[in-house]
């Protein structure tokens, strides 16, 4: 009888397809008035000798049915979950929802790179005004009024004595007036020149550098700038110094690097020379040091300057400098 009951229950379990049905089945066998429960209750009618074996048998029967039910329950729960998960499936090929991550302006990316290289070499960072006195922008830098060297830069004038700085070099003077050697700093910032075409914009960025101490030499200038170039463009890039002229340095040099586009073979960008001009530099002219009250016998120093747009254009192969300031998202999002 009990073996039969167990088989019936197991057969019935197989036909069950949902958890509510399973609950009904459990109630029918194991509930308060369930078939198994009734058998347990009927134990009382048995004799003392018959009761233990019958009890044992019923318990085994009950355990067997409970185990079968619980196995079936697990199975049904798993199936239910699988069904729900299947119904909740989304198209994972659709694009994600995001405001996106913004893009840093390429000029600032490169500017930060330059600053970080010099900061690692122990340079501090200084600033000066963008609207500047003629005295600092020119006169203190050995560029008197009515001097042809003023032709090297097209100047925006605010008044006879005030200009939009044409280079970051006045920061050299402002800092040297305030602080005494040893000095080792860079001065990044915006500069202005009255010019606009494919390779000129009325505003652009420069990084100025200055180092003044006892025993600073032209050889040191070469060492520092070569280190910079190798960190910025890679250790394989050749660096070349050639004589040039800036009123505020003597001797003066232009610094060329091997063309990073053609590897020095010669291309349109380097005009076939294999070299690109990226920095101006030189030993600080004693007249400039003297203007700032620095003892030129005791101290020597070097200064350098570079255009950030130029380097950025080379790095990303941008062929029109004006794009940097149009701020068209289609351009900015590329960096």
């Amino acid at each position: 009888m009990s073996e039969e009951l167990k088989n019936t229950a197991i057969e019935e379990l197989k036909t069950i397809t949902s958890l509510p049905e399973l609950a009904q089945l459990k109630a029918r066998y194991l509930g308060k008035k369930g078939l198994i429960t009734l058998q347990v209750k009927s134990l009382g009618t048995l004799s003392a000798e018959d009761r233990p074996p019958a009890g044992k048998r019923i318990n085994e029967l009950k355990d067997a049915i409970e185990a079968a039910c619980s196995a079936r329950e697990d199975e049904l729960t798993r199936k239910d979950l699988a069904k729900r998960l299947a119904s909740e499936s989304i198209d994972i090929t659709l694009p994600g929802r995001t405001a996106g991550i913004g893009r840093e302006h390429p000029i600032n990316t490169v500017l930060s790179e330059i600053i970080d290289i010099f900061v690692r070499m122990g340079f501090s960072v200084e600033e000066g005004p963008e609207v500047e006195l003629d005295r600092y922008n020119f006169e203190a830098l050995n560029i008197p009024k009515d001097h042809p060297a003023r032709d090297m830069q097209d100047t925006f004038y605010v008044s006879d004595d005030v200009v939009l700085r044409t280079h970051t070099s006045p920061v050299q003077v402002r800092v040297m007036e305030q602080k005494k050697p040893p000095l080792r700093f860079i001065a990044p910032g915006k500069v202005y020149r009255c010019d606009a075409d494919v390779s000129h914009t009325p505003m652009f960025h420069q990084v100025e550098g200055l180092m003044v101490d006892e025993g600073i030499t032209f050889s040191n200038l070469k060492g520092v700038l070569e280190t910079f170039v190798h960190q910025m463009f890679g250790p394989q890039v050749p660096v070349r110094f050639r004589p040039s002229f800036f009123p505020f340095t003597e001797p003066s040099a232009e610094v060329d690097i091997g063309c990073i586009l053609c590897g020095g073979a010669g291309c349109r960008v380097c005009k076939g020379s294999g070299f690109l001009e990226v920095l101006g530099a030189g030993m600080v002219n004693p007249k400039v040091l003297g203007f700032c009250g620095i003892d030129t016998e005791r101290y020597t120093g070097f200064a350098f300057g570079m255009g950030v747009e130029r380097i950025t254009m080379l790095k990303y192969r941008v062929d029109d400098i004006r794009l940097f300031f149009e701020n068209d998202l289609r351009f900015l999002r590329q960096f």
């Binding site: 996106g100 913004g102 005004p129 070349r240 050639r242």
Partner: protein, 696 residues
């Protein structure tokens, strides 16, 4: 300066090919920017720096080549075989400071005609147009010797006399006068401009351009050739004032060679004699202000000290050979350099050191990193403070989806008018550029919003329908009575979105988007005392914008751009939403909090209580939260508003504001009774302060 290779070879022996020579020149400070092949010749485009006007000529470059290769320069034969005695012709120099020397020659009975082909070709290679034999000769000699000459028609010079002086010295006049230059333009001559005069009237603007009244033409038979030394500053000033830049003025303002001018004059006279069959007359030469060479003392030790080299005395002296310097050995320590008249750029020790470096070759100075002490002065510069802040802000905006812009610092009057600023707004006090590229860019911006609005217009026109932009830069506030404006660091951002069909539910950005970002940023900066008040900016939506204060000082604004402004922009989209922000970082900086201040975190469980209060609809959420936060209790961990509701059920002019409070003690588990008691007290406190009651 264009220099034909074949012409150069007439003066110096060159065994190198043009490319090799170009490289040597480039590496010695005369950058050859291009080499143009013309027939069997190669024309160098040489970039001559302003300190080396002596190299604005073929002979000048030949001198450099000779020095580089250790060769000598062979000048053309200037032997005067025959010349007539000087004619009765007078030269008076009235302003010797402006004209240190003036020489001239007369050539008579010339036949004006075209120059021979070889001369025309050379002129053309150098970019000079051939005119006639006499004028071409003056140009040819200019290119060859670098000394500008001028030819007058002798018969048009009245009174057999040349005078050199300003209107002030010649006429004792303070008035400007009129003069027609060769190009046919009428020029306004200031009383201090140096002119060349005949016995009666001006005939040339000295060193800049000749006069129309004495021009050499086809019918000219007799010419007077001028070769002079004019003071550079005066020529430059005249050239700039007249807006007239010529081959002559370019050289005179950089400084010419007061000695070679005689050779140039002879060369020109001889060529005119050859090419135009003239008869040469004796030279006139007035030299009122003598030139004396500079004497520069150079210490051997200083040369090595500046360059970082260990050159022997012999090597230093050897390197300077061939530059035309007159060198005297002074002692074991120094030598004396006397400069030739064409090297006025050498005036101090460093100038000679540069020559040594140039001749030794920059390539032969090996790079070496400096051995230097750490800088003792570690005072943090302003850049040292603002730079980390700007980097932090940049990172926050980038991760929030904003793209960085860099705008010109320029704006125009229209940009300010668009924003409807009040007349007395300090942002109207702009620095004005005297010579802007265009009137729309004549002002330095006093705030950044106008630039971002320009970016909005550009991008919308290009079909970019969703923008999040930000920029950090200086602004410039004019300070009447002071030379320089006040420069402040600002941050500005703009969010724009059109109603567009999109995959996901449209999240139109609003005031709270931007406020949320700023609040997060302020929290990150540990900025305390920030207060948001309804904005009074005329360009913002009055109901959806705020001015941001710290204490009494306004540090910025944020909000929806007024439809009055948006409507004037050419935006075709329906209901575009534009949110803008601007912060003054300079005034915000002093309020930035110190670094983290650690406090123990509680290990016991928390309890939360929510309460909705019904208050007057006009009451700001900030006021309610303020009262909640003003309630002092050491078991309150956090408070927040989580719902604001307005509806008919609450009654006219009422709203419900729900807030939650999280309670937790550092040293024990709170009981429900304890929390209930504190919360009841809190609710009563806030109800009293706001005149509200707990929503049923």
């Amino acid at each position: 300066m264009r220099v034909p290779f074949n012409w150069l070879k007439e003066f110096v022996e060159i065994s190198d090919a043009p490319e090799a020579l170009a490289h040597r020149l480039t590496m010695s400070g005369f950058e050859v920017e291009a080499i143009e092949r013309i027939g069997d010749d190669a024309v160098f485009e040489v970039n001559v720096t302003p300190n080396r006007p002596d190299c604005l000529s073929v002979v000048g470059i030949a001198r450099e080549v000779a020095a580089l290769y250790g060769r000598s320069v062979n000048l053309p034969d200037l032997t005067i075989v025959s010349e007539a005695k000087a004619l009765d012709f007078n030269i008076d120099v009235l302003d010797a400071e402006l004209c240190n020397r003036y020489a001239g020659r007369i050539v008579r009975n010339v036949k004006i005609g075209p120059s021979p082909a070889w001369m025309r070709e050379r002129l053309e290679k150098c970019g000079v147009r051939a005119i006639n034999n006499v004028v071409d000769v003056t140009n040819y000699v200019l290119l060859e010797f670098g000394h500008p000459l001028h030819a007058f028609d002798l018969n048009l010079l009245k009174g057999g006399r040349i005078r050199v002086g300003t209107p002030r010295s010649v006429l004792q006049s303070d008035n400007p006068m009129r003069f027609y230059t060769l190009d046919g333009e009428e020029r306004r001559i200031d009383p201090d401009m140096l002119l060349i005069w005949d016995a009666e009237v001006p005939v040339a603007v000295a060193g800049v351009m000749g006069g129309l009244n004495t021009e050499v033409k086809d019918l000219t038979t007799d010419v007077f050739i001028e070769s002079a030394y004019f003071e550079p500053t005066s020529i430059r000033r005249t050239s700039r004032t007249l807006g007239l830049k010529t081959e002559s003025s370019y050289r005179f303002e950089r400084g010419t060679d007061i000695k070679i001018m005689k050779k140039a004059l002879d060369r020109a006279a001889l060529l005119i004699k050859d090419l135009a069959q003239g008869a040469m007359y004796g030279k006139l030469d007035i030299y009122p202000k003598r030139w004396h060479p500079y004497e520069v003392k150079v210490r051997y030790s200083r040369v090595n000290h500046v360059l970082g080299l260990a050159l022997t005395h012999g090597r230093i002296l050897e390197s300077l050979q061939g530059l035309g310097l007159d060198i005297t050995e002074g002692s074991r320590e120094f030598f004396i350099v006397k400069t030739p008249p064409y090297r006025r750029d050498i005036t101090m020790e460093e100038d000679v050191i540069e020559e040594v470096a140039r001749m030794v070759g920059f390539d032969n100075i090996s790079p070496e990193l400096p051995r230097t002490a750490f800088a003792a002065d570690d005072a943090v510069s302003t850049a040292g403070k603002i730079m980390p802040l700007k980097r932090k802000i940049r990172a926050a905006f980038l991760t929030s989806g904003y793209t960085e812009t860099i705008n010109y610092s320029f704006i125009g009057k229209a940009d300010l008018d668009l924003l409807r600023l009040a007349a007395d707004d300090e942002r109207n006090v702009c620095v004005r550029v005297q010579n802007p590229l265009r009137e729309e860019d004549a002002f330095m911006r006093t705030f950044m919003l106008p630039s971002l609005i320009r970016n909005l217009a550009t991008n919308v026109a290009q079909g970019n329908r969703e923008l999040r932009l930000f920029e950090q830069a200086r602004i410039f506030l004019g300070r009447p009575g002071e030379a320089l404006p006040e420069e402040r660091e600002h941050l500005a951002a703009l969010v724009y979105r059109e109603k567009i069909k999109s995959l996901y539910r449209d999240e139109t950005p609003d005031f709270y988007h931007v406020k949320g970002l700023l609040e997060a940023l302020f929290a990150d900066m540990r900025l305390s005392g920030v207060c948001w008040k309804r904005s009074e900016e005329p360009f913002l939506h009055p109901g959806q914008s705020a001015d941001i204060f710290i204490g009494e000082s306004k540090i910025g604004f944020a909000g929806v751009l007024s439809p009055l402004v948006v409507n004037t922009l050419d935006i075709k989209a329906q209901k575009p939403s534009v949110i803008v922000v601007e912060l003054d970082l300079t005034s915000l900086m002093p309020h930035i909090g110190a670094g983290a201040d650690y406090r123990a975190i509680a290990r016991f469980p928390f309890v939360e209580r929510d309460t909705a209060l019904v208050v007057d609809a006009s009451l700001d959420a900030a006021a309610i939260l303020g009262h909640v936060r003003a309630f002092r209790s050491d078991v309150i961990e956090d408070t927040a508003i989580f719902d604001v509701y307005q509806g008919a059920s609450l009654g006219e002019g009422k709203k419900s504001v729900a807030f939650s409070v999280r309670y937790r003690a550092i040293d024990r588990t709170l009981t429900d009774d304890e929390v209930d008691a504190v919360h009841a007290e809190l609710v009563q406190h806030v109800s009293e302060k706001t005149g509200g009651h707990v929503r049923a």
